[in-house]
Symmetry: C2
């Protein structure tokens, strides 16, 4: 049983340090090679859906309104649009079904805003001196990288337990150079926070100074509960329309964590007006997306109800992994008082906040003992966490017994980092 580091005496801390060091060295000596870096489904999840590979036969192409085996249907197969509209709660006319990657669709949207300009843009952003972008943080490193790579100035917005700090957001969007914001509204990456109804409504009702403000709504974990039943979530397109912002939002999702990661189907949802304009830009870029895979997904997932049943199977694999992470944190770290964490019920991550100045050192120790985790700072713009505090744990890939080991390494590493700091080592 650990001691509380704040109240402990120097001797108690020295003693704890010696014990932790011994445990750490023993774990390190095992030559572990474990990975908790990425939100990557584990092999058991992929085994669940093996029959998807052969579910589509030539017979399935008969009687469709288009030959899904051939070129055409730039915005996707109507059957796939219907499936995603049901899952997201928007209209099928608002859907573009894309290729294997929603990140790719998001990049493409930002890129087109930069190179050509989207619907109703005064001009493409490459003609502007300065583009600023709101990044609720901790957030998804790949989102931040997209906007960083185009040279935008990233502005950190604090996350609260109900989503981005909207007072801050509403102040920042008075600047016309602020052109957009990243959001992961349900089971946010990495906090696992679901934005409150109030936050979502304030977002939908924003009045940015920029007429070309892009609300990038990455609904990556829209049906990704691993504890409990599906939690309904309001359709952002409807809310934006009702708030007089019909063209402000572009929503994204994918099947990467329903079927095969990186071999699934992505989707973008936006107003019909936006989609009409987007289609004109898209026709220069691609003839059509992979409709054979779209049809395979329609055949396999069928509808929302059936897809939710599949997500329950994924949850059956994921829940014990998240439980393992949380139990270890509760047992090893809670008594020490050196960190706090979220207890998500969906998504792919557990977000830990250490006392200031411990994240980098913790992850260095973890890595030296053979456990790879998301780099410190990755969850903040430019990879710089001002408090050196946030750590993202991705428990989905290892087995539970591997996780058990990895969490032992992680917890003892964090303790050592804290003790080094306290004891000036």
């Amino acid at each position: 049983m650990s001691i509380n580091y704040t109240n402990a005496s120097k001797i108690e801390l020295e003693n704890e340090y010696a014990q932790c060091k011994e445990k750490y060295d023993a774990l390190k000596a095992q030559g572990l090679k474990l990975n908790m870096a990425r939100g990557k489904p584990g092999p058991e999840q992929l085994d669940l859906i093996g029959d998807m590979l052969t579910c589509l036969t030539p017979e399935d192409f008969k009687g469709l309104s288009v030959d899904a085996r051939n070129y055409g249907e730039l915005t996707g197969l109507s059957e796939a649009k219907a499936l995603f509209a049901e899952i997201l709660g928007c209209k099928a006319e608002e859907i573009l079904v894309g290729g294997n990657s929603s990140l790719n669709l998001m990049y493409d949207t930002v890129a087109k805003a930069f190179t050509h300009g989207l619907n109703n843009f005064p001009c493409p952003w490459h003609k502007l001196d300065k583009v600023k972008w709101l990044c609720p943080a901790p957030g998804y490193d790949r989102h931040f990288k997209v906007t960083e790579s185009f040279g935008f100035e990233l502005i950190t917005v604090p996350m609260t337990p109900t989503g981005p700090d909207m007072d801050t957001v509403e102040e920042l969007i008075k600047d016309e150079a602020v052109k957009g914001m990243w959001c992961v509204p349900k089971y946010s990456n990495p906090d696992g926070i679901t934005y409150s109804a109030e936050t979502v409504r304030r977002i939908a009702a924003m009045k940015p100074a920029a007429p070309d403000f892009l609300l990038m709504w990455d609904n990556a974990y829209c049906i990704h509960e691993f504890a409990g039943d599906f939690v309904p979530f309001e359709d952002i397109l409807t809310l934006c329309r009702e708030a007089g912002n019909p063209n402000m939002v572009y929503e994204y999702a994918s099947t990467s964590k329903m079927t095969f990661p990186g071999a699934g189907v992505s989707v973008m949802a936006t107003s019909e007006d936006n989609l009409t304009a987007y289609k004109k830009l898209l026709t220069v870029e691609i003839i059509s997306y992979d409709k054979v895979n779209q049809l395979r997904h329609v055949k396999y997932l069928k509808n929302k109800e059936n897809t939710l049943a599949l997500m329950k199977k994924h949850a059956g694999v994921l829940a014990p992994k998240f439980a393992c992470v949380l139990e270890n944190l509760e047992k090893e770290i809670a008594p020490t008082g050196i960190a706090s964490w979220q207890k998500p019920t969906g998504g792919y991550f557990v977000s830990v906040n250490t006392l200031p100045g411990l994240a980098k050192r913790t992850l260095t120790l973890t890595k030296e003992a053979g456990v790879t985790m998301t780099g410190a700072g990755a969850t903040f713009p430019y990879g710089i966490d001002p408090n050196d505090s946030n750590i993202r744990i991705a428990p989905s890939y290892p087995t539970v017994s591997e996780l058990e080991k990895a969490m032992q390494v992680f917890c003892v590493s964090m303790k050592i980092a804290a003790l080094e700091q306290k004891l000036g080592k």
Copy 2:
């Protein structure tokens, strides 16, 4: 039997006009709805490969060096790289295996040159006042559109029977603002011309003033013979390397006309240096491409020999269609002297050059009689054919009996256009 329009008397021409008009009206009355607009494989070709849909099973993923069902391998599955390296004649290390669309990869390359800059670029092109681009024409409309959409100035380079006019090219590239050139080196779109060895060597040895000159080498029809055996073609990467231009060329191909159009696999080949730099940009855009579909293609296509055998089956479907087009042109148009055309042995098009000023009118008449063809001018930059002469015929989609009808409509439409011009109607 038609008469030669140049030598004929006014009475003969009036007589011919009346006959053509009668034939045209009779065809139009049939209410045809035929399409020769796009290089789209026909349903018979897609039926050939139906068993590809179910060829990949969970067993096939065992024993691979990576789990192809999961994220990872940004530049593609090594097995797929090996297959394409064999087909293209380059090294596997020079290959990026992408998603379902080579047009998308090409767009992406040009877009990255514009937004971020590629390997060894002095700066991204969006910072330049002017970018000029060489377009051998007639050429592929979608190529031209990509570079047009980024605001580049398109410069037409005449096509000759051995490829782009290299004297012109070598003169134009002395201008540092000229940043690249589109090429379809084998069975060019639309002419069906294969660049001569001499032309290819001159291209590889170019010394452009621009250090960031991009040779965009779209080897779309690399193994797409429909008459006779596979014709070997030199590897452009090797030639460029030997000529001291290792980083000038980016080559593209896809399986869209081997397996399912728009549901296949695309490939980019470029120097290892270029690829290393490209990968850094790509990691911001996508996590990985669809490796399940890559593996499906590896399992189905196996190797070059087996792929060439499949291409023979496609040729069996395509050859009678091209024969139908050429026979109709020979019989109906050759005697009149109003047009000339290429007689390709591979690719997807027949390119017809009418006497000046006839293309638009021909295609208006064709369309009014229910036959859709690629728009006049599409094969030139900005969609403007200075001679209003080039027409692209895409015979792959209709059946032979539909083609027979469509070609009757086309030939009589061209005759009417010529007679209207001659007779001042």
